[in-house]
Amino acid sequence: MTADEIRRATVRLSHEIVEKQAGTEGLMLIGIQRRGVPLAHRIADAIADNEGVAVPVGALDITFYRDDLSLVAQQPVVKGTELPSGIDGRTIVLVDDVLYTGRTIRAAMDALVDFGRPQAIRLAVLVDRGHRELPIRADHVGKNVPTSREELVRVHLEETDGEDGVEIERVVDDPVAVEPVA
């Protein structure tokens, strides 16, 4: 995906989210650290452009809720959770860059319910690459990208990586072959 495609997908996601909610009442966007956070802000900016409403945006760190801490060589660095207000009774849209096994989203929902009882939790992702291991699906998808498990999907965002782009990378012993997601 090019920077333009990411921009268009983000704008479409913003329209879908508002349409599904029939407005912006009670909406809150919560980005999952790390690249979900700038995406959530971009979607909120797009909603502000279209609807003239500033939807609150938060950041969720799911590090402490992972189910695979013992599989990781070192503890991941915690990046912090910041919610703009209480979540009770709101419609929370979780935002992440890539949906893969679904375990991140499972952890995010566990983390979220520790803060209160939302009216609903929805999921918006930039890329759905398949291979779910849990019964989780996204409500809003920027792009479906069929992949094999041997591949890595790399999302770059200007805020975190200096440029926008999505690539698929094949994990092989040889030098890594990179092909852009068309």
């Binding site: 189910d67 070192q74 991941p76 660095v77 912090g80 910041e82 520790d114 291979h131 790399r154 975190t160």
Partner: protein, 351 residues
Amino acid sequence: MTGVVDGPAETVAVVPSVDVAPESQSVGWRHRHLLDVDGLTAADLDLVMRTADAMREVLARPIARVPALRGRNVTLLFYEASTRTRVSFEMAAKNLSADVTNIAAASSSVTKGESLLDTVRTVEALGAQMLVMRHAVSGAPYLAAEAFGGSVLNAGDGWHAHPTQALLDLYTMRSRLPGGFVAGRKVVILGDVLHSRVARSNIWSLTAAGADLWLCGPATLLRGFDAWAARGAAAGRRFQVTSDVGAALRDADVVMALRIQRERMASGLLPSLREYAARYGLTRERLALAAPGALVMHPGPMNEGVEIAADVAAGAQSVITDQVTNGVAIRMALLYLLAGVSGGPGSEDAA
């Protein structure tokens, strides 16, 4: 490695499955035990502080509990009286959803003559994965660490070290000093330095953080520290020892009073507690010598009216209750970081 994004269960990839930024990966935590602060690099200290920030955010939540250490056993083995450190560790472990086992040596088989090593092997066989230990003998946790398969956290050994206290002191200073840094600030440790493991650990971490460190107390309670200060100065650390309380306190940014440890006090070191209070007690008048708004700290428990006046301990400049709260956050951070090294099936081949 920039921009690797995958589900957390991604274990087939050659890179760690976590979304770890390259800069954070290079400063990852490598220590299996926390026995003292002297083995910690500046990057380690920084990682502990940043992780403690996240833990403080957890503590501020309506439900101050996260499942990070679910299924892990943390055993507290205390051979010496303690309230705040033991409770602080216990709450830290519980806030991370660990299972906590408490052993007070006074009511255990230790009284039947069981050796330290036997006790350590026994609690490990019973399922302890992380061992938090306090012992009256300096070096005891080092011995335990040799026998124990998991992680050992030193919660104070004799006169030697009290690393979590030093780390929470550093954290409290960083969070309360204007600008958030300790480098160049004048920090005074006042009182019974000789018997203080808190002072010894703080000397290391504070001079490593670049503080202008002053130790002050009666000469009898500073024995041997001149040589340490000279070595420190030779190594480029700012470190002075004095019995002149006025010189020490003048323009200080932080004043940390230490408890007069009567239980460790061999006779003859002090004429009397009253004379000590009169000459070295941290009173409002003495505190006025320090910089305006200087932080007042005390590792506790306090003898009010001896090393610190009650109105100073409860005054506006006191951050003593902050120290207690930050202690839970720091201990959560350390348990979390150590658990990643000692813990599960991936830890051995992952070094």
